[in-house]
């Protein structure tokens, strides 16, 4: 029941976003960015809905949504953890940081989002904060000179703030 209600609301919100951009196909990327900000990903139904509402083909919408790395067709976690793997971070051991986070979040090979939809772990090419390498960004907060230990602590704090993980195994 709750999910159904969510969907009703979502189309309404999508409509508002499309209207705010004057149904202009040129604004498609901005529209998708705002929709994703709202839902943390781009559900297929919504992509179809956008195409119909804006009178452009679904393949065009899908084409744009899959071209850009920032768009996700899979649900993302509430906290998107981005580890920078740009040149400067790479030479300052960002790989070790990434591995530590993978272990901490119990992510399997190829898995990006935790089961409870709390965290998504990604790499990005550069935040341009190279003076602070290695850099990690959680949602919009930038963390500099992050060691694996520091990263684990930050994750622990978020988990604590969220009142523990859904399936708390540590008790």
């Amino acid at each position: 029941m709750a999910a159904k209600q969510d969907f009703k609301r979502s189309f309404q919100r999508v409509n508002e976003i499309i209207e705010a951009h004057g149904r202009n196909p040129v604004e498609l990327i901005s529209i998708l960015q705002e929709v994703q900000e709202e839902y943390r990903y781009l559900p297929e139904e919504i992509l179809n809905y956008i195409a119909t509402a804006m009178r452009i083909s679904p393949s065009k919408v899908f084409g744009v949504a899959t071209f850009y790395e920032n768009f996700s067709l899979e649900p993302k976690g509430k906290y998107v953890v981005k580890v920078c793997d740009g040149t400067a971070c790479h030479v300052r051991k960002s790989t070790a940081l990434l591995n530590a986070l993978k272990k901490k979040l119990e992510l399997k090979e190829g898995q990006e989002t935790t089961q409870d939809l709390m965290f998504t772990l990604e790499t990005v090419s550069c935040f341009g904060a190279c003076g602070l390498a290695p850099v990690m960004v959680i949602n919009d907060e930038v963390y500099g000179k992050v060691t694996p230990e520091k990263a684990e602590k930050i994750i622990d704090e978020i988990i604590k703030e969220e009142g523990g993980r859904g399936n708390d195994q540590d008790h």
Binding site: V64, N70, G86, G131, L132, D140
Partner: protein
Amino acid sequence: MIRTIEDLYNLHEDYKEAMNREKMKILVCAGTGCVSSGSLEVYEALKEIVQEKELFVDIDLMEGGREGVNVSPSGCHGFCEMGPIVRIEPQGYFYVRVSEIDAPEIVEKTVENNEVVERLLYRNPETGEIYRTEESMPFYGKQKRLVLEHCGKINPENIKEYIALGGYQALAEAFEMTPEEVCQVVLKAKLRGRGGGGFPAGIKWDSVRKEHAGQKYVVCNGDEGDPGAFMDRSIMEGDPHRVIEGMIIAGYASGATKGYIYVRAEYPLAVKRLQKAIQQAREFGLLGENILDSGFDFDIKISKGAGAFVCGEGSALTASIEGNRGMPRTRPPRTVQKGLFQKPTVLNNVETFANVPLIILYGADNYLKIGTKDSPGTKAFALTGNIVNTGLIEVPMGTTLREVIYEIGGGIPQGKKLKAVQIGGPSGGCLTSEHLDLPMDFDSLDSAGAMIGSGGLVVMDEDTCMVEVARFFMDFTQKESCGKCVPCREGTKKILEILEKIIAGDATMEDIKLLEELAETVKDGSLCGLGKTASNPVLTTLRYFRDEYIAHVKDKKCPAGVCQAFKTYYIDPEVCKGCSKCVRVCPNNAISGEIKKPFSIDAEKCIKCGACVSVCPFNAVKEG
């Protein structure tokens, strides 16, 4: 509201006078780097104390003509590693790693008693020398900050400070000329595109000016995608009005009335600052209709990227602004004829536009005195990697690599040797110690097989494996290939596979031959800059470090000791005390022995994970 040029000069005088009443100015860096190190808390703490003591003034508090102390956020100083940075004017004291608990001491000593807080000054980690002011530090002393002159010195969120320092006067001067004359000045100043190509901006502007079209556009490329480059971010965050002013001048010169700034999504603070700056410029009448009563209309919109490196390429960028997949197209027609929305478009990058006000105010003749004959002006570089002073720098074109690395950058940490410098990001190439005295300008770098690119300089020391570096860049370009041209899409993938094979120790000399052939094919068979330059890291490393490739293939060795596959671990029997800690962590049961006697590693079973190295309390496990 500024309606006329006279209004602008009058306001400039008023604001200048207001700023002169700031007997002291505490500038707290609010660039991305320092914010993440906690600079906003430092700013709040300092401001609160100064306000409590009823000393606070700023440009918005004009009435009464009271003198006092201003505490203001500023743009990036470029010395991000040492953040949060606080600069005190007029003394020029430069405090590093400041935290909010230092605020009372700064106010008490520096503000009230004009003393310096010694412990917050920068100390050279190699020599221990302490520097009191920004200007006395070798990092800054050797630089020539013209484009970055305001970064770190003004509040980027207040247009009044920009106007107080002469902002928008270049625009006023441009309006006194005809559009053709403005193009001629830029042409004469030989301003070359700072995004990497080095194409003369004046030619672009003049070409667009000559086109007959109802609508023309000015596009600013702020899609600084090269990993390890952050010059444009710092300018957009630290002095956004300068970019806007440059764009309006370009619009006037070329007859374009609409501007777009394309900023990558990874730069949220730059977007925010630009938005605010555009808003303020509109309120002041510097964007909109009939700017400064010139009869010229211009407005700017921000377009946010969505994470595609290829969008830094001109035609891909315009496709992205139009709401399409950002894929490059064949040229001609060129952007100046059919660019954004098929209309004539001036497309330059952030730093290029930021140079424009300088050229108009200084005049082309004076601008030509800076830099080299064919590459006048300065260039901003982002200095990163294995270097003592990581940061953003600006030097005259033609400065040598040696000056940049050893004088400004402070050399390589721990006295290590320089191996290579990757210049221009993944599309660039690498330079070696033999290039240390090469002047860095467009043409000299080109002849060395590298390019200035956007200006990222990644310094690598002797412990870097160049094959691994090539693999790293190829991994990047391979992921970022848009997929349009087969040689780029498939070729980069195959190149990456071969590089991985070399690193894993499975390659033959045939593979190196194939690698070279592929690299040439990708270069020749791709449409856009990304594909054409994708193999540069491979080609330049093969050119300068061929012996390293051969060592990996023939001798099965990684000379830098980086590549995991070639590592072997052994236990030094002299050092081992037989505690068995290593046995317990070994995931593959490769270690055996008797307690209190030296243990040994079975090389056949060892998977080279290195777990035993970190756990041994006696450092008995050695890499060989």
